[in-house]
Amino acid sequence: MLAAKNRNLRSILAGLIVRLAGLAVICALIGMFVQMVSVAYPILAPSTLAPLTSSLDDFRSGQLLEEGYALDATRGVSFSVAGDWSLEGKSGEPWFWVNSLTGFRIENTDLPTRWTAASAVGINRGVAIANADGLISHHHFLASTLPGDAPSSARAEQIDISLSVVSMAGHPRLAVAAVVSSPSTLTIVDFRNPQAQLTYPLADDASGLYWESPTKLRVFAGSIAEDFQFTTTDIGGAWSRLINPVHYEGYSAPNYLWLPLPASEEAEPKYSIAPLLFGTLKAASLALLIGAPVSLGAAIYVGFFMSQAQRGRIRPAIDMLTAFPTVVLGAIGLFWIAPVFETVLAALLGVVILFPVLITLGVFAMRGVGLRIVRLDALDDWPLKLIPLVSVVLATSAWAGMSVAASLPGGSLNAYLQQHGITIAYFNSLLVGLILGLAITPTIFSVAEEAIHSVPKNLAAGALALGSTPWQSYRDIVLPLALPGMIAAVMIGFGRAAGETMILLMLSGNTGIIDMSVFEGLRSVSASLALELPEAPKNSSHYYVLFVMGLMLFGVTFVVNTLAELIKDSVRAKTRGG
């Protein structure tokens, strides 16, 4: 009686623990997601402008004008640019680039000549010019590429606030300008996000304003100074700057750049995540291209053609490889493959081209002399018998590849490619693809093999009994049933490759370029997170953007893996029903 009671209690307890564990995992997943969203969210928050209570009275705005905070259109303005050059202008007259050393004056015809206020935006980086109708344009400076030549300017954005501009102050760091206009309005125009204007009605007509710090704006109206708190992120709420090409300051055309520069004051931080997404996709695609054919081939062989006993020995061995630490694979790539990459590439090309031809010839040649080591009509071939032939053919084709490379004009594959204008980056995408492909092979193999093996044996046996060859029975009976599972396997492999960090960190070179060439490096989302997240200042725009990318990575792997699981489940239902 007591024993039964005890047993009951135990099973209740066990059930409780198991349920708790399951619940904990689900809660942890949801919690992680919510946490990441809440951390990343502020990057999408719009800029805000709020008056500060600690306004200073009795500040004479006349004094301010004397100090040159407010710029006077009729007296003329001057902004220093890179080198010895400055930009000088007076309303109604053309703008001039002036060299302080040589005294050269070169007209800049790109800037509007009729204006009421002009102000530098960022330090030596650009200028905002406003006219009486409220049309404000932002021009940034481009350094000349010829020594001694004048810089030029490029118009990045034009914003119409339709108010009569009185004075304007450019933000010391960002492409933002604060404008006071008549009648008594304060407007913040954001050239990074032209749609997002912040306006604030002032009590009195303002005469001037300046930025006391990047977050604090001081406006003078009559004898009163009023302070405003300006909060913004480095993208000003324009999330399209993360994905679309952006016309960054100092560049002549819009492009994608990942240059976060967290502690810099002079340059605009650049947060295009496109190069990183491209890098992740490129690495994962190359890894699939290299890993999928090998692992699917192995899965078909082990799952269908091998006997049960042999499969029982091979499969756990390959499954164990799934747990192989990727940092070791990265180190193998870094220390063994990368230094001899050129030779590896030549050998690899030789294998890819010659191996299928040579192995076929080899098998038929051996059959010709009566050595029937491969019985094409049997299901349970033992691959050990094939090892001598395969290794000979592998070595021959690799050797052939290397000797062809050595006999190329120039003496090596590298020199030959160089003659055709292709140079290989030491840390290149193909190297990453090769090692990453190796890393995902056991994963794809495991899932695909399971899908193939779970097709009921009696179906294939029936086909064999009716006279089809093993290959025919595989192709026509097993493959259609196993195909969704194999697709799921490839998808899981893709998800694994997209989330992989260590191999990419060690081998990709972390170069944030968008280049289709497999001989160039790449920078993946995961490697960027590993490199930058530990050091990104907390609650900085850089930090938020990194979390946005983390969220994207989480999302991609989650969706891909869930889809793969769904596909696998549908197969299971189908095969069971069949």
Binding site: L13, A143, G250, L257, N510
Partner: protein, 309 residues
């Protein structure tokens, strides 16, 4: 089953205890020094700490060398007593510090080193011009230069490696060396996105030592016997080696305190400062490859140690 439950319970209790131990270490704040910051200075700090510990075994010192950008937030949040930086705090970091603590951080000029250009010993190149540096490491047009240099031939027509690509290597954006390099060598412009970013100065040196066609910038203290340090030809056409006093890429390294020196009197911070300003401390500094900064009115080690007394 019962065993399993007991095991699980034991695990939970153990985890809790370990967590408690990590979260609330029994520390005497006066006898613990946590130094967070620059990777460049990590070797020097370690050497100092070892010697300091042998003299003051009662004070324990912890060093976390993640990068200069880590120092200001750590000081601000009180998770570190001292911060080391291979650049000065910028105005944003200073104002964030003041906003959080209501105090000004104490800045001490610790030492001087240089950003050097390093390559494989087998590379025949001896020096780089400032123009070439901008064209190799910068985005196109950096410092008003025209066009990138991508091969050794373009750098020097007589170079035996011809069209072989220059494998450009650099530090990550959070490193102080990267920040300093941007400001001084690239006229504040953008470093090329094509630069291979390797975490840590030691990592850069090791990669260069393995890779013949590489060219990298690094802190002079990370240079070792396996790599070749290049001279720089300055604007006047003079070739200057990093040891020379007029080398263009010399920089100062800083130590930051969360408190003022007056408040630090009698604490572990001051004991450490007095040690590193002593003869033994300066000796370690020089042996680690750093120089003493020139006097120019800013607070140096000696000044800080005097203020402590």
């Amino acid at each position: 089953m019962f065993l399993l439950v007991r095991f699980l319970l034991a695990c939970i209790v153990a985890t809790f205890c370990v967590g408690q131990a990590i979260a609330n270490p029994e520390r005497d704040p006066n006898n613990t020094l946590i130094i967070v910051g620059s990777d460049t200075l990590s070797g020097l700090m370690t050497a100092w700490t070892q010697e300091f510990y042998s003299q003051n075994p009662a004070i324990s010192v912890e060093i976390q060398a993640v990068g200069s950008a880590a120092a200001p937030p750590a000081l601000q949040q009180g998770t570190a007593n001292m911060g080391t930086m291979s650049r000065a705090m910028n105005s944003d970091e200073v104002s964030a510090f003041i906003a959080e603590t209501g105090r000004q951080p104490t800045e001490i000029v610790l030492a001087e080193d240089a950003v050097v250009f390093i390559t494989h010993p087998s590379n025949p190149i001896e020096h780089l011009t400032e123009n070439a540096i901008a064209r190799i490491f910068g985005m196109p047009g950096t410092c008003g230069t025209n066009g990138r240099i991508t091969s050794w031939q373009e750098l020097s027509a007589a170079h035996p490696w011809g069209k072989t690509r220059i494998q450009v290597i650099g530090r990550t954006a959070t490193s102080g060396t990267y920040q300093y390099f941007r400001k001084s060598a690239l006229c504040g412009g953008d470093p090329g996105v094509f630069i291979n970013e390797i975490p840590g100065g030691g990592g850069v040196s090791n990669t260069v030592a393995r890779l013949p066609s590489s060219l990298a910038y690094s802190a002079s203290t990370h240079a070792n016997g396996d790599i070749k340090v290049l001279s720089v030809m300055d604007g006047a056409g003079e070739i200057v080696s990093p040891e020379a006093y007029d080398y263009p890429f010399k920089r100062r390294l800083y130590l930051y305190l969360a408190t003022s020196l007056e408040d630090a009197r009698g604490t572990a911070e001051c004991a450490f400062l007095e040690f590193i300003a002593s003869e033994a401390g300066v000796d370690i500094l020089l042996r680690s490859g750093f120089d003493l900064p020139d006097e120019d009115g800013s607070l140096t080690l000696v000044g800080a140690a005097n203020a402590c007394r």
